[in-house]
Symmetry: C2
Subunit: 155 residues, 2 copies
Protein backbone atom coordinates (compact mmCIF):
# COMPACT_ATOMS: atom_id res chain seq x y z
CA UNK A 1 0.00 0.00 0.00
CA UNK A 2 1.66 3.20 -1.16
CA UNK A 3 -0.67 5.96 -0.08
CA UNK A 4 1.64 8.90 -0.39
CA UNK A 5 3.48 7.75 -3.48
CA UNK A 6 0.27 6.95 -5.32
CA UNK A 7 -1.31 10.30 -4.55
CA UNK A 8 1.82 12.16 -5.49
CA UNK A 9 2.30 10.09 -8.62
CA UNK A 10 -1.09 11.14 -9.89
CA UNK A 11 -0.27 14.84 -9.74
CA UNK A 12 3.27 14.46 -10.97
CA UNK A 13 2.35 12.13 -13.78
CA UNK A 14 -0.52 14.29 -14.97
CA UNK A 15 1.61 17.41 -14.93
CA UNK A 16 4.77 16.00 -16.35
CA UNK A 17 4.28 12.87 -18.36
CA UNK A 18 7.03 13.39 -20.90
CA UNK A 19 9.44 11.10 -19.11
CA UNK A 20 6.89 8.45 -18.21
CA UNK A 21 6.74 5.11 -19.98
CA UNK A 22 2.99 5.42 -19.83
CA UNK A 23 3.20 8.56 -21.93
CA UNK A 24 3.81 6.37 -24.95
CA UNK A 25 0.14 5.52 -25.27
CA UNK A 26 -2.03 7.54 -27.63
CA UNK A 27 -4.64 9.96 -26.32
CA UNK A 28 -7.33 7.54 -27.45
CA UNK A 29 -5.70 4.67 -25.57
CA UNK A 30 -5.14 6.82 -22.49
CA UNK A 31 -8.86 7.62 -22.40
CA UNK A 32 -9.69 3.96 -23.00
CA UNK A 33 -7.40 2.73 -20.24
CA UNK A 34 -8.67 5.23 -17.68
CA UNK A 35 -12.26 4.33 -18.53
CA UNK A 36 -11.27 0.68 -18.13
CA UNK A 37 -9.77 1.32 -14.71
CA UNK A 38 -12.83 3.16 -13.43
CA UNK A 39 -15.21 0.59 -14.91
CA UNK A 40 -13.34 -2.29 -13.33
CA UNK A 41 -13.26 -0.52 -9.98
CA UNK A 42 -17.01 0.11 -10.24
CA UNK A 43 -17.65 -3.62 -10.75
CA UNK A 44 -15.68 -4.33 -7.60
CA UNK A 45 -17.39 -1.53 -5.67
CA UNK A 46 -20.68 -3.11 -6.70
CA UNK A 47 -19.67 -6.48 -5.30
CA UNK A 48 -18.66 -4.96 -1.98
CA UNK A 49 -21.85 -2.86 -1.82
CA UNK A 50 -23.98 -5.94 -2.48
CA UNK A 51 -22.40 -7.77 0.43
CA UNK A 52 -21.90 -5.13 3.11
CA UNK A 53 -24.74 -2.71 2.31
CA UNK A 54 -27.44 -4.58 0.42
CA UNK A 55 -27.47 -7.71 2.54
CA UNK A 56 -26.33 -10.29 0.05
CA UNK A 57 -24.39 -13.20 1.58
CA UNK A 58 -20.98 -12.08 2.81
CA UNK A 59 -17.98 -13.77 1.23
CA UNK A 60 -14.72 -12.71 2.82
CA UNK A 61 -12.51 -13.85 -0.08
CA UNK A 62 -14.64 -12.03 -2.65
CA UNK A 63 -14.77 -8.79 -0.69
CA UNK A 64 -11.05 -8.82 0.07
CA UNK A 65 -10.21 -9.56 -3.57
CA UNK A 66 -12.54 -6.79 -4.75
CA UNK A 67 -10.99 -4.28 -2.35
CA UNK A 68 -7.49 -5.34 -3.39
CA UNK A 69 -8.37 -4.79 -7.05
CA UNK A 70 -9.71 -1.31 -6.32
CA UNK A 71 -6.62 -0.38 -4.29
CA UNK A 72 -4.15 -1.79 -6.82
CA UNK A 73 -5.85 0.06 -9.68
CA UNK A 74 -5.89 3.26 -7.62
CA UNK A 75 -2.20 2.81 -6.86
CA UNK A 76 -1.16 2.15 -10.46
CA UNK A 77 -0.50 5.75 -11.46
CA UNK A 78 -3.65 6.60 -13.38
CA UNK A 79 -2.57 10.23 -13.53
CA UNK A 80 -0.47 9.24 -16.53
CA UNK A 81 -3.75 8.49 -18.31
CA UNK A 82 -4.60 12.18 -18.42
CA UNK A 83 -2.05 13.42 -20.97
CA UNK A 84 -2.33 16.82 -22.58
CA UNK A 85 -5.03 16.70 -25.24
CA UNK A 86 -7.13 14.10 -23.46
CA UNK A 87 -9.63 16.69 -22.26
CA UNK A 88 -11.68 15.66 -25.27
CA UNK A 89 -11.68 12.47 -27.25
CA UNK A 90 -13.03 8.95 -27.34
CA UNK A 91 -11.62 5.82 -25.77
CA UNK A 92 -14.21 3.10 -25.30
CA UNK A 93 -16.65 6.02 -25.44
CA UNK A 94 -16.44 9.82 -25.39
CA UNK A 95 -14.66 11.09 -22.30
CA UNK A 96 -16.81 12.79 -19.68
CA UNK A 97 -13.91 14.69 -18.13
CA UNK A 98 -14.50 18.44 -17.81
CA UNK A 99 -11.86 20.91 -19.07
CA UNK A 100 -11.65 22.21 -15.48
CA UNK A 101 -9.90 18.96 -14.52
CA UNK A 102 -6.80 19.99 -16.47
CA UNK A 103 -6.90 23.55 -15.13
CA UNK A 104 -6.89 22.51 -11.47
CA UNK A 105 -4.17 19.90 -11.17
CA UNK A 106 -3.26 20.66 -7.54
CA UNK A 107 -6.90 20.10 -6.57
CA UNK A 108 -7.12 17.00 -8.75
CA UNK A 109 -3.97 15.66 -7.13
CA UNK A 110 -5.49 16.20 -3.70
CA UNK A 111 -8.75 14.49 -4.65
CA UNK A 112 -6.80 11.60 -6.18
CA UNK A 113 -4.70 11.32 -3.03
CA UNK A 114 -7.83 11.17 -0.86
CA UNK A 115 -9.26 8.50 -3.11
CA UNK A 116 -6.08 6.44 -2.96
CA UNK A 117 -5.95 6.73 0.82
CA UNK A 118 -9.58 5.63 1.09
CA UNK A 119 -9.03 2.75 -1.35
CA UNK A 120 -6.04 1.52 0.64
CA UNK A 121 -8.00 1.80 3.88
CA UNK A 122 -10.82 -0.21 2.33
CA UNK A 123 -8.37 -2.93 1.34
CA UNK A 124 -6.97 -2.94 4.87
CA UNK A 125 -10.47 -3.16 6.37
CA UNK A 126 -11.48 -5.89 3.94
CA UNK A 127 -8.46 -7.95 4.95
CA UNK A 128 -9.72 -7.99 8.55
CA UNK A 129 -13.18 -9.25 7.64
CA UNK A 130 -14.81 -6.75 10.03
CA UNK A 131 -17.98 -5.91 8.12
CA UNK A 132 -18.67 -2.73 10.09
CA UNK A 133 -15.19 -1.43 9.31
CA UNK A 134 -15.57 -2.46 5.66
CA UNK A 135 -18.91 -0.66 5.45
CA UNK A 136 -17.40 2.54 6.86
CA UNK A 137 -14.33 2.36 4.61
CA UNK A 138 -16.52 1.60 1.60
CA UNK A 139 -18.55 4.74 2.35
CA UNK A 140 -15.39 6.85 2.41
CA UNK A 141 -14.26 5.49 -0.95
CA UNK A 142 -17.66 6.37 -2.39
CA UNK A 143 -17.36 9.90 -1.03
CA UNK A 144 -13.96 10.40 -2.62
CA UNK A 145 -15.26 9.09 -5.96
CA UNK A 146 -18.19 11.47 -5.78
CA UNK A 147 -16.05 14.45 -4.78
CA UNK A 148 -14.13 14.21 -8.04
CA UNK A 149 -17.16 13.31 -10.17
CA UNK A 150 -19.11 16.30 -8.86
CA UNK A 151 -16.34 18.70 -9.80
CA UNK A 152 -14.73 17.22 -12.85
CA UNK A 153 -17.04 14.74 -14.60
CA UNK A 154 -19.86 15.82 -16.88
CA UNK A 155 -23.27 14.35 -16.10
CA UNK B 1 -1.81 -13.50 -3.31
CA UNK B 2 -4.40 -16.25 -3.58
CA UNK B 3 -3.21 -18.45 -6.40
CA UNK B 4 -5.34 -21.48 -5.80
CA UNK B 5 -8.48 -19.68 -4.75
CA UNK B 6 -8.35 -17.34 -7.71
CA UNK B 7 -7.88 -20.10 -10.25
CA UNK B 8 -10.62 -22.18 -8.69
CA UNK B 9 -12.93 -19.19 -8.38
CA UNK B 10 -12.77 -18.61 -12.09
CA UNK B 11 -14.00 -22.07 -12.96
CA UNK B 12 -16.54 -22.23 -10.18
CA UNK B 13 -17.88 -18.77 -10.82
CA UNK B 14 -18.16 -19.30 -14.54
CA UNK B 15 -19.94 -22.61 -14.10
CA UNK B 16 -22.24 -21.67 -11.29
CA UNK B 17 -22.86 -17.99 -10.96
CA UNK B 18 -26.43 -18.11 -9.69
CA UNK B 19 -25.41 -17.57 -6.10
CA UNK B 20 -22.74 -14.97 -6.79
CA UNK B 21 -23.25 -11.32 -6.01
CA UNK B 22 -21.46 -10.57 -9.26
CA UNK B 23 -24.20 -12.41 -11.11
CA UNK B 24 -26.45 -9.42 -10.59
CA UNK B 25 -24.82 -7.51 -13.43
CA UNK B 26 -26.42 -7.62 -16.87
CA UNK B 27 -24.80 -9.54 -19.70
CA UNK B 28 -23.87 -6.21 -21.29
CA UNK B 29 -22.21 -5.02 -18.09
CA UNK B 30 -20.45 -8.36 -17.58
CA UNK B 31 -18.91 -8.04 -21.05
CA UNK B 32 -18.03 -4.41 -20.37
CA UNK B 33 -16.39 -5.18 -17.04
CA UNK B 34 -14.34 -8.08 -18.40
CA UNK B 35 -13.19 -5.93 -21.31
CA UNK B 36 -12.28 -3.25 -18.78
CA UNK B 37 -10.24 -5.69 -16.71
CA UNK B 38 -8.28 -6.98 -19.69
CA UNK B 39 -7.74 -3.47 -21.06
CA UNK B 40 -6.44 -2.20 -17.75
CA UNK B 41 -4.13 -5.19 -17.41
CA UNK B 42 -2.83 -4.56 -20.93
CA UNK B 43 -1.92 -0.98 -20.02
CA UNK B 44 0.04 -2.27 -17.08
CA UNK B 45 1.67 -5.04 -19.12
CA UNK B 46 2.74 -2.31 -21.55
CA UNK B 47 4.39 -0.30 -18.80
CA UNK B 48 6.33 -3.33 -17.58
CA UNK B 49 7.32 -4.30 -21.13
CA UNK B 50 8.57 -0.78 -21.80
CA UNK B 51 10.85 -0.90 -18.79
CA UNK B 52 12.17 -4.47 -18.66
CA UNK B 53 12.10 -5.41 -22.37
CA UNK B 54 12.22 -2.23 -24.44
CA UNK B 55 14.92 -0.46 -22.47
CA UNK B 56 13.00 2.52 -21.15
CA UNK B 57 14.23 3.82 -17.78
CA UNK B 58 13.41 1.38 -15.00
CA UNK B 59 11.20 2.68 -12.20
CA UNK B 60 10.76 0.18 -9.41
CA UNK B 61 7.62 1.77 -7.95
CA UNK B 62 5.91 1.91 -11.35
CA UNK B 63 6.74 -1.67 -12.24
CA UNK B 64 5.70 -3.01 -8.83
CA UNK B 65 2.45 -1.04 -8.94
CA UNK B 66 1.73 -2.26 -12.46
CA UNK B 67 2.36 -5.88 -11.49
CA UNK B 68 0.19 -5.49 -8.39
CA UNK B 69 -2.66 -4.14 -10.52
CA UNK B 70 -2.41 -7.08 -12.92
CA UNK B 71 -2.35 -9.60 -10.07
CA UNK B 72 -5.22 -7.99 -8.16
CA UNK B 73 -7.38 -7.88 -11.28
CA UNK B 74 -6.50 -11.49 -12.06
CA UNK B 75 -7.42 -12.46 -8.50
CA UNK B 76 -10.74 -10.65 -8.48
CA UNK B 77 -12.90 -13.48 -9.77
CA UNK B 78 -13.33 -12.51 -13.40
CA UNK B 79 -14.96 -15.86 -14.10
CA UNK B 80 -18.18 -14.29 -12.83
CA UNK B 81 -18.00 -11.97 -15.83
CA UNK B 82 -18.74 -14.86 -18.20
CA UNK B 83 -22.39 -15.53 -17.36
CA UNK B 84 -24.59 -17.67 -19.56
CA UNK B 85 -25.58 -15.67 -22.61
CA UNK B 86 -22.39 -13.62 -22.72
CA UNK B 87 -20.96 -15.68 -25.58
CA UNK B 88 -22.30 -12.93 -27.81
CA UNK B 89 -23.11 -9.34 -27.05
CA UNK B 90 -21.59 -5.90 -26.68
CA UNK B 91 -20.02 -4.28 -23.66
CA UNK B 92 -17.68 -1.43 -24.54
CA UNK B 93 -17.52 -3.20 -27.91
CA UNK B 94 -18.63 -6.54 -29.35
CA UNK B 95 -17.17 -9.45 -27.43
CA UNK B 96 -14.45 -11.45 -29.18
CA UNK B 97 -14.98 -14.55 -27.06
CA UNK B 98 -15.47 -17.74 -29.07
CA UNK B 99 -18.41 -20.04 -28.28
CA UNK B 100 -15.84 -22.77 -27.56
CA UNK B 101 -14.91 -20.88 -24.38
CA UNK B 102 -18.25 -21.79 -22.81
CA UNK B 103 -18.05 -25.37 -24.00
CA UNK B 104 -14.69 -26.07 -22.42
CA UNK B 105 -14.93 -24.71 -18.90
CA UNK B 106 -12.48 -27.18 -17.32
CA UNK B 107 -9.85 -26.12 -19.87
CA UNK B 108 -10.73 -22.45 -19.40
CA UNK B 109 -10.41 -22.86 -15.63
CA UNK B 110 -6.97 -24.41 -16.09
CA UNK B 111 -5.82 -21.62 -18.41
CA UNK B 112 -7.18 -19.03 -15.99
CA UNK B 113 -5.41 -20.73 -13.10
CA UNK B 114 -2.11 -20.67 -15.03
CA UNK B 115 -2.63 -17.00 -15.79
CA UNK B 116 -3.36 -16.18 -12.16
CA UNK B 117 -0.30 -18.11 -10.99
CA UNK B 118 1.88 -16.27 -13.51
CA UNK B 119 0.37 -12.89 -12.56
CA UNK B 120 1.04 -13.53 -8.88
CA UNK B 121 4.59 -14.63 -9.66
CA UNK B 122 5.12 -11.45 -11.66
CA UNK B 123 3.93 -9.36 -8.72
CA UNK B 124 6.28 -11.25 -6.42
CA UNK B 125 9.20 -10.75 -8.82
CA UNK B 126 8.36 -7.07 -9.26
CA UNK B 127 8.42 -6.58 -5.51
CA UNK B 128 12.04 -7.74 -5.44
CA UNK B 129 13.20 -5.31 -8.11
CA UNK B 130 15.25 -8.03 -9.82
CA UNK B 131 14.84 -7.04 -13.45
CA UNK B 132 15.94 -10.43 -14.79
CA UNK B 133 13.34 -12.17 -12.66
CA UNK B 134 10.71 -9.62 -13.66
CA UNK B 135 11.54 -10.14 -17.33
CA UNK B 136 11.16 -13.91 -17.00
CA UNK B 137 7.92 -13.64 -15.02
CA UNK B 138 6.56 -11.09 -17.49
CA UNK B 139 7.24 -13.54 -20.32
CA UNK B 140 5.29 -16.25 -18.53
CA UNK B 141 2.30 -13.96 -18.03
CA UNK B 142 2.38 -13.15 -21.74
CA UNK B 143 2.42 -16.85 -22.59
CA UNK B 144 -0.61 -17.53 -20.42
CA UNK B 145 -2.49 -14.60 -21.99
CA UNK B 146 -1.68 -15.89 -25.46
CA UNK B 147 -2.62 -19.48 -24.62
CA UNK B 148 -6.20 -18.41 -23.90
CA UNK B 149 -6.38 -15.88 -26.74
CA UNK B 150 -5.21 -18.46 -29.28
CA UNK B 151 -7.92 -20.89 -28.27
CA UNK B 152 -10.83 -18.75 -27.21
CA UNK B 153 -10.58 -15.25 -28.65
CA UNK B 154 -11.55 -14.40 -32.21
CA UNK B 155 -8.95 -12.50 -34.22
Amino acid sequence: MKKIIAGAAFGIAALSIATSAAAQVSVEDAIKFRQAGYAFMSWNMGKIKAQVIDGQPYNQDQVAAAANAIAAIANSGMGALYPAGSDTGTGFRATKVKPEFFQNMPDVGQLAGSFNTAANELAAAAATGDQGAIRAAFGKVGETCKACHDKYRAK
